[in-house]
Symmetry: C4
Subunit: 206 residues, 4 copies
């Protein structure tokens, strides 16, 4: 059993880079020649990529937050735990690709589904990490209350459920599907239920 | 309430990556074929991107410095604080895009305004972080003197005010607007008033 | 003799960035114009790059894991050790290039060999790091048992042997060579012998 | 006076990213179409970029090493010290650009001079950092012997002198100038005088 600190730092590094690389998906016209399009027209054509940038930024931010809360409670790591983290990092670092595909094929439903399924898989991998770590309190403190374990699981489930809702909604209208992802920060920071959730965990810690 | 260390490290990671990715905005001719332009002509056409690189580097460096000072005083983080940090990171990691736009559309006033407004928003988000953390000394030490809080606020306000001055000046001349951003390090490091500001904080800490 | 912590953190940084930059090898059609290919056709042409992304991700992840275990036992660093680490980082940060070459020249045996030899060299450099650090217990604890040293060496040898097998197999069939790399996580996480290896080290530490 | 740890970590982050971004200067043919060139011809045209990659990697690695040794002795940081570090980071994160220019304009002496002057400036900025920190033992331990200060200065001067030699040699032959940079690791790790230098520092610390 190794100490989790360096693994946490490595994961943070990968997540921080993945979230910052998203901006490279926003193309800039070559500075060496006169741009082909007017600025206004250019920025209009960049709206879809920018929306994708913001959505993926929020989603990766949400995963980081869940990962931060998970590692707050992890006391040791083992082989399987490291492997599950590897799958999670593989998925997160892959996100810039479906983000770009979805912005290029903006009217293609399959491009959206590709994007949403990768996001769904990120949440599932986080759920596996937490379930593995907490089943029989394998890698967490023995005294961590059931209630806290359940609440953190609910928090991980939130973006997962939103993915499902977004996928369903996208069959009605692609843009509604896209907008549903933006509900995540609203639900995290506005809903009183969420507030209570965070609060009770804090009490459990202090 | 979680400990702020890992959040600080994650923010540092995102800022460090954003500041280093700026160099990717400087295009290099393909090494696989004979370059179209002479080197001198090429470097002349790269002056605007290089100026943008330096300006954005200085501005992001300034934000990092303010963030470093803020986290020096933060004792705990909560939900809203993390959300405000998320907005700040979203804006900082977005900077390479307006930097590139401004270099491509170098004669377009709107491109400059787009750039300056994003920089303005970065400072505003830092101000929100500091105001939220210090109002009723929510996330800082109870003994942190009012004077220190006010002085750090002034430091955050400095790049914000320079953005406003640069925007106003750009209506007179675009290049003057651009040059005004370069005043930031001059004001930080040369002005005696600034020196005193940093000094008195140090005394408050030691 | 300097403390190893900052060197470990720097190596982690480089490895984390190299592993995340792999995604930039997956091209995305420009969002500013109508894509030339249908999405299905596009994704089919992206299968080779995606396979390369996954393979390189797994391999770099494996190197990180070995590096993590090595530094877990390092008590001090010296000049030669830093130099060997430098060679290792040079090779790891170079990986995105042969990964891209292999995806572009997918039917060219030499492109595969170029890729496999770089991976082979990464493992060899890790082996040199571990052998240098442990010969006469130069940079590790005097009490570290011979058994642990040998077991960690075996773990580093695993990807190295797989490279050799993949190179040999590629003379029969290029795709079999490629698939053999994917055995690494299977062998790490499924084989009972590996489990025991990890277990006994843990006992040695606790 | 703030604690230097977070500044050191931020600098490490920027240097680690700059060193890893170098690989993006190595172009890969698009995976979506049949490559224009044969693999052999392609790799031959990539020799100059690869040499540039290796040279810049070694140089940035050398700067990191000097920075690591400097921060090993720093006890506190101040405004000017942070500013000097900012200049150093600006120069280091800029390196991928002259590296690319030099690979594209491989027969142009000015491209080489541009490259060498940026490298020279990196060393000069490191020298300023160390001189500022140690003059009157401003930011280092009062008991740090003069001898250690001088030896670390000599170490920083080594790449600086090699830049000068490389620039002079490039007037004779451009490729000799390029090869001289590769002397740095040789001098660091082979010369007995360097060994002694590192050794005596170690004694000063232990």
């Amino acid at each position: 059993m190794y100490k989790p600190e360096r693994l946490a730092a490595f994961c943070d590094g990968v997540i921080a880079i993945a979230i910052t690389l998203l901006v490279l998906g926003l193309e800039v016209p070559s500075a060496g020649k006169v741009p082909e399009k007017e600025l206004g027209e250019y920025l209009r054509s960049a709206i879809h990529p920018m929306m994708g940038f913001i959505t993926s930024f929020i989603l990766i931010g949400t995963y980081w937050l869940a990962h931060y809360v998970i590692f707050h409670h992890i006391k040791a790591v083992d082989r399987i735990f490291i492997g599950l983290n590897g799958v999670f990092l593989l998925l997160v670092s892959f996100i810039p690709f479906p983000t770009g595909i979805q912005a290029s094929y903006r009217d293609d439903h399959y491009a959206f589904l590709f994007y949403a399924i990768i996001q769904f898989a990120c949440s599932v991998s986080l759920l596996c990490i937490w379930n593995y770590a907490t089943s029989h309190r394998r890698l967490v403190d023995d005294r961590l209350p059931d209630d806290s374990i359940r609440k953190i699981r609910h928090r991980i489930l939130l973006p997962l459920l939103i993915c499902v809702v977004a996928i369903v909604a996208s069959f009605v209208n692609l843009n509604i599907g896209r907008l549903i992802f933006l509900l995540i920060p609203v639900l995290y920071f506005v809903q009183p239920g969420m507030d209570q959730l965070w609060g009770s965990e804090s009490q459990a810690k202090s």
